[in-house]
Symmetry: C2
Subunit: 350 residues, 2 copies
């Protein structure tokens, strides 16, 4: 194990200025602070490590952390005035934790800053494969990838030949769910918010069909067109009126894996779903899940998906913004659907 | 096997006059016809039987059959001008079906009339226990009983000590679910629509707590009061705003068995449920079910529950209306919550 230089360096950060009770986050809700510094050596007697942040992930669930929850939430609220927290990939520059040594790469919960002192490294996973792009560990090989894997295989109970619909399908999770479903021999349709994304789904990710939901005046009819015999599995990323349209089109004993409801996160009053009675007659199972419950499958998942990547049996598209100073615009763009593929921020490449 | 007298007798019927697109059913939507007759012998060469109807069941799902479904439904729509169909208990007065002989008692799908020709006896179950009241086979020993049994044990995945909430809890299904849950050592709270019903839940059925939802201005707060640590299992019979309030109060990994949504059946525009995003963070499983999928468990269920009745380990309350001519008012009353306990109609007692 090497020893870190005991130096103090500049450490730019992106802070959340204040909680956002409702509405879409704006760039002005965040602030770039360039005056901070950090000592690149872990405190004596700690089991901490210092991570040089390389890639930071923009994920829909982060919206929830920008709102103050009086009763708590499944993840901690952000702390106004502190750096935004999120998943990222970094290089260990000092460590007193037995699981990590200087030079290791890791992914997990870190801060929106150049260097982070990680006092609780159990929220980090060691990266075992540096022969694939490290940025993949914010997506296909990280939290969104495991979300897709666990959500599809564990929650959807999929069978060969079943009819699968995925919303927000070109996003970090959706594009993988669709490819897992195709590998299993399912019929797969995805929705997305631009023709460019729709094109990507059909040409790059091998979806059987895809449509731009913004161009469809009646989603119930649209789904009927793509699923004349109904939907067996819905991988839910958006919620609201799309969920209502899906319920009308579900088949008997269909399954809905509720992964996210991004269409609702910024609304002051969320849309109501009016046809839930259909889950009775159709015997539908709808189940929410969080990737945190599936971390135990991570190593198995990492090996399997690295192999698929090497064999070019799985495709992956990233939308990389360069520079920590552009992180706020990237996050804001995610909620406007501006990204094409997995949204991430490159803070440094090495 | 005896032989039936070849006689023709009068056969009063209750018809559905027309489909009811929305709103509550009214007595004037039905008609008592007293001019019909029936020959009490099955047709030559058939495998039919003739049932003398003793008890007819009024059940919430019947509302759905009064609406015309262009795309079909999980049960057939009623046929305007024909007798209403429903669950009932009867005595076999002629049979050419090998499974039934004259004098047998049976329960299952029959007609709202004095005698029914049952051409498809696979929808009938033979009654094995005439030492308990025959009317029980419209409720605790029939479809609602099996609904409660399968819904609670198979769909709710209950564990000892869990916190269980049941809506429409004094109804045919709810009163049994609550008692099954108490037998398992759960904490059980029920809601109902009158103080009389609430009293019944607490004094007769042994619920830990019960409340009159009509007297509660804020159901979310009401549930918080009865479940300060949240709800593990919700047995859903009503839907709408109650479901919304429940979702706010569910615990992590809670389960919702969706059995019915009676509050929504008569609404032209059902209420929307606006907080479904909670099922993600709380990892809630919500599952619809129909008793028809659980008929394979019926014999096991019948033996178990007959035993519980004989040992007085289970309580049961019926609301019996006398006479076929009063069947429409009984059914209408069900949707107004006028019944106390299982609503049924006695056409004849033997």
């Amino acid at each position: 194990m090497g020893s870190a230089e005991d130096v103090v360096v500049a450490n730019k950060k992106v802070l959340l200025k204040h909680f956002i009770p409702s509405g879409a986050p704006k760039e002005t809700d965040m602030e770039l602070v360039t005056t901070g510094t950090i000592r690149l050596r872990v405190p004596e007697g700690s089991t901490a490590l210092i991570l040089k942040n390389l890639y930071l992930s923009c994920d829909p669930y982060m919206r929830s952390r920008m709102t103050k929850h009086e009763d708590g939430s499944y993840v901690d609220d952000f702390v106004p005035g502190e750096p935004i927290a999120g998943f990222g990939v970094g290089k260990v520059v000092d460590s007193s934790h037995p699981g990590f040594k200087i030079g290791d790469y890791a992914w997990g919960m870190t801060g929106w800053e150049e260097y982070s002192l990680i006092t609780d490294p159990k929220l980090l996973f060691k990266i075992h494969h540096t022969e694939v792009p490290l940025s993949y560990y914010t997506g296909i090989l990280g939290m969104p990838g495991l979300t897709a894997y666990a959500g599809f295989y564990d929650i959807c109970s999929p069978k060969e030949g079943e009819r699968v619909f995925i919303s927000a399908a070109s996003g970090a999770v959706g594009q993988l769910v669709g490819q897992f479903a195709k590998q299993l021999g399912c019929y797969v349709v995805g929705s997305a918010g631009s023709d460019e994304k729709v094109n990507l789904l059909k040409t790059k990710f091998g979806f059987d069909e895809a449509f731009n939901y913004k161009k469809e005046p009646d989603l119930t009819k649209t789904l009927k067109r793509y699923f004349p015999d109904g939907i067996d599995i819905y991988f839910e990323n958006v919620g609201g009126s799309m969920l209502e349209a899906v319920l009308y089109n579900m088949r008997l004993k269909g399954r809905i894996a509720a992964c996210g409801m991004i269409s609702q996160y910024n609304l002051e009053i969320p849309e109501g779903v009016r046809n839930l009675f259909l889950i009775i007659g159709k015997r539908i199972r709808m189940e929410g899940f969080l990737v945190f419950d599936h971390y135990g499958s991570y190593l198995e998942f990492e090996e399997k998906v690295v192999q698929l990547i090497k064999e070019e049996k799985i495709k992956y598209v990233e939308d990389i913004v360069e520079g920590l100073e552009n992180a706020p615009v990237a996050l804001v763009g995610l909620f406007e659907g501006r990204n094409v593929g997995k949204q991430l921020v490159a803070v440094a490449h090495e």
